[in-house]
């Protein structure tokens, strides 16, 4: 059963409950009635005053021209266009407008609770997460130094520290949860951790309801971890990175219906630090004519030690796909472009809806944000790996959905709709980041109806897997992007299975992790380009198992050709370590682990000849012989 089931089945509950809760039914508060009666009784002046106070607004949009001198004027006009509902005006009259109490929610505060200790043992950071870009650290469930490994058990929200030398549990710290449960955010952004470059502190990111909490844990002595600073970031959590020890957060902030201009707190994203509220400057906010929702995607660079917001920027768009390269942040907002034409039969109108993306680029060079520009392209990138930057060129793979439907007049003035066309295809774009022009593209390269299941860029190459999921078969594409104006590519043709993650293993070899000919078959396959074709070099398959599609749950060691992951089967769970020696891929280790309920939460690494495996409430080590 899913939470969606509850949401849907609420639609079938007793009709009296639906009527009773109808928010559109007029509801007047008793204090307003009393106040109006008192005002009418006191004097004629009070009557006139109350008339002025309680005269309902006409519902017309407020004329904002009086704020034309404001640096935010253009933004105010756009937000008003997107957030105003004249038939549901927020302030019904002057009384509400001038006496409505604006509650400051503590959820938006950036507050300090406690301090870190000063212990400073010598240790060195060692990266275990296979980050998309070197130096741009991605949050993960585990991080390590040379001496310790830290794992966040996401179910209990407990941080465990292990010794890399003795493979023993050193300490645990429970992270308090005022709201009872970690709340899942979009994509796979659950609770994650970062280890500071000096290995003295762990920052735990906890996505919460409408805000994000960051908790610092002092790990300077891993055998005596202490809870340190806690601070909150306004807005729903989208993703984060650690850059040079600074925390970069991407959050979402929605404007309420009918904001009260020019009250900044009503229509601008904000941060509160030390009791002082900061609003984003006008030039820190970018928007396009295509903006269709009064929703900001906000990026902020925060110093976890001082809690200072170093810089912030925003786009007026819901940009859920985020990639952070060495120099830039790329935010992708989705929009649906509509067109219409006359249908074949009289009275019919054919509507076409095509999914498009607005890609915004924000530079984060030198710890300062600068809007570089934006561009609209067909389709939507599927995940962070579908975007990449190299030599000033942004490379993107998108998946396009195109729907056509006919509207038919069913009664005078009233129409019904019938979907007639549903097309899905994949595109690749190369965009010059100076001019924001497309300098090369391959459109609709996949057969119609196929999903993009995995994308990776490495050097001059782009790798894409598209799949016909119903039949579990796919082509894998190798794109040569050395000359973006002249993109060439080859593919495998249709083969069994499809990859959900692609890894460049070097030497022209691409490793795909995904499904075989059934949804219960793990298939790890290596590809290479030969005679203008992409061919399979070797493959490993395991039947009747379930495994994670989350790339971060895999252990990848390109230098040693190692790939590790946990699989669940009927009788329990098993950790499988595979080695690709350049010609064949084979299993070199299998470790039984107690039944893992969610394979997404497993993490593993190899240190020396010891394999460390972490899972929910479980920890195992094994000696391996490579």
């Amino acid at each position: 059963m899913k939470n969606k089931d509850i949401f849907r089945e609420l639609g079938g509950v007793d009709e009296k409950f639906i009527l009773e809760a109808d928010p559109t039914a007029a509801r007047k508060s008793t204090w307003r009635k009393k106040l109006a009666v008192m005002a009418a009784c006191i004097s004629i002046f009070a009557v006139f005053l109350s008339l002025w106070l309680f005269m309902p607004f006409s519902g017309e949009l407020e004329d904002l021209s009086k704020y034309s001198d404001s640096e935010y004027y253009a933004l105010m006009l756009k937000v008003q266009q997107l957030a105003s509902r004249p038939d549901n005006y927020r302030f019904k009259n002057n009384f509400e407008k001038y006496f409505f109490v604006h509650e400051q929610s503590g959820e938006n505060d950036v507050a300090t609770v406690g301090t870190l200790s000063e212990a400073t043992p010598a240790d060195k950071y060692a990266e275990v997460t296979d980050n998309q870009f070197e130096g741009i650290i991605e949050g993960d469930l585990f991080k390590r130094s040379e001496k310790s490994i830290f794992y966040l058990d996401p179910l209990t929200l407990t941080l465990y520290s292990y010794s890399t030398e003795s493979a023993e549990l050193l300490d645990t710290v429970n992270i308090p949860e005022e709201f009872g449960f970690p709340i899942k955010s979009i994509d796979h952004n659950n609770s994650i951790i970062y280890l500071s470059p000096d290995c003295k502190s762990i920052t735990v990111i906890l996505p919460k309801y409408q805000f994000t909490e960051a908790v610092s844990i002092d790990v300077s002595d891993p055998a005596d971890m202490k809870k340190g600073n806690t601070f909150q970031i306004s807005g729903g959590f989208m993703t984060s990175r650690m850059i040079d020890g600074k925390l970069l957060t991407v959050t979402g902030w929605g404007v309420g219906t009918n904001p009260d201009f020019p009250e900044k707190g009503e229509y601008l994203p904000q941060f509160t630090s030390g009791g002082k509220t900061q609003y984003l400057a006008a030039d820190a906010i970018s928007f396009t004519d295509d903006a269709w929702r009064a929703f900001y995607t906000v990026v902020a660079l925060i110093d976890p030690a001082t809690l200072e917001v170093i810089d912030s920027a925003a786009v007026l768009d819901y940009a859920g796909r985020v990639t952070v390269s060495e120099n830039n942040i790329f935010l992708c907002g989705v929009l649906h472009e509509r067109s219409e034409r006359a249908g074949e039969n009289e009275g019919e109108t054919v509507f076409n809806i095509t999914q498009k993306s607005t890609v915004y680029a924000i530079s984060h060079a030198g710890g300062k944000f600068e809007h570089l520009g934006n561009i609209k392209i067909d389709g939507l990138p599927t995940d962070q790996y579908a975007l990449d930057e190299r030599d000033g060129v942004l490379r993107i793979v998108t998946e396009t959905q195109e729907t056509e439907y006919i509207r038919i007049e069913i009664a005078e003035g009233y129409m019904g709709a019938q979907t007639t066309v549903d097309i899905q295809s994949a595109n690749l774009y190369c965009i010059d980041l100076e001019t924001f022009e497309i300098i090369g593209s391959v459109k609709a390269f996949s057969p119609h109806g196929e999903d993009v299941t995995a994308v990776r860029f490495e050097g001059d190459y782009g790798y894409v897997c598209t799949a016909e999921k119903v039949y579990n078969r796919d082509p894998v594409y190798f794109f040569d992007l050395s000359d973006p104006a002249n993109i060439t590519y080859s593919d495998t043709g249709v083969i069994d299975g499809y990859s959900t993650s692609l890894v460049d293993m070097g030497g022209g070899k691409l490793l795909g992790i995904g499904y075989g000919d059934s949804d219960q078959t793990l298939k790890v396959e290596v590809y290479e380009e030969k005679d203008d074709r992409v061919v399979s070099v070797c493959a490993f398959e395991l039947n009747y198992v379930e495994f994670s599609e989350d790339y971060k749950s895999y252990y990848i060691n390109r230098a040693e050709g190692l790939v590790g992951l946990t699989v669940s089967h009927l009788y329990g769970s098993e950790y499988v370590l595979l080695k690709f020696d350049g010609e064949v891929i084979k299993q070199i280790e299998s470790v039984a682990v107690p039944l893992v309920e969610n394979v997404d939460y497993t993490r593993s690494t190899v240190i020396g000849d010891t394999l460390f495996i972490f899972a929910e409430n479980d920890f195992k080590t094994a000696k391996i012989d490579q």
Binding site: M1, I6, F7, R8, F181, K184, G413
Partner: protein, 184 residues
Amino acid sequence: MDDRSIVKLFLERSEQAIRETAKKYGRYCRYIAMRLLGNDPDAEEVENDTYLRLWNSIPPHKPDPLKPYVGKIARNLALGRIEASGAQKRSGEVTLALEELAECIADPGDEDMAENFALREALNSFLGSLDARERIIFMQRYFYACTVREIARLRGMKESAVTMLLFRTRMKLREHLIKEGFEI
């Protein structure tokens, strides 16, 4: 025009039925679609599709009262549109509401009609067990996808009080579903 007269027009296959429904419940219908989808063009299409669904379902149905019947259809059509578009059209409030309900049931499993029917019955008995204030706030949040701020304004409460009441109600729902034998 009262509901029975509108339903009578539907039964007589009079196009006037749609005009009267739009006049009386168009705003209500758009409100529900707008809350779930978050944008006007989609809400408008859902409203029109609701009239088509009413036209096709009356007869055989003879809803009395008509308003919640219209609301259910509009909500189901909006949810269908969200599911068909792979959640891209889901409004922020629906995303948040779904995240909140994940606290009640976190274990994905097979869906079947019998289980859905049992769940609907369990929800009915749960709603019946709540006091009126809890029930109304729960329905406004999870049926109508109202924001916490809107509910606070409608009910004359502080946002933090609404958030806390919703949290407690969700915990009660979780306990109720466990008692009813649902796998949590």
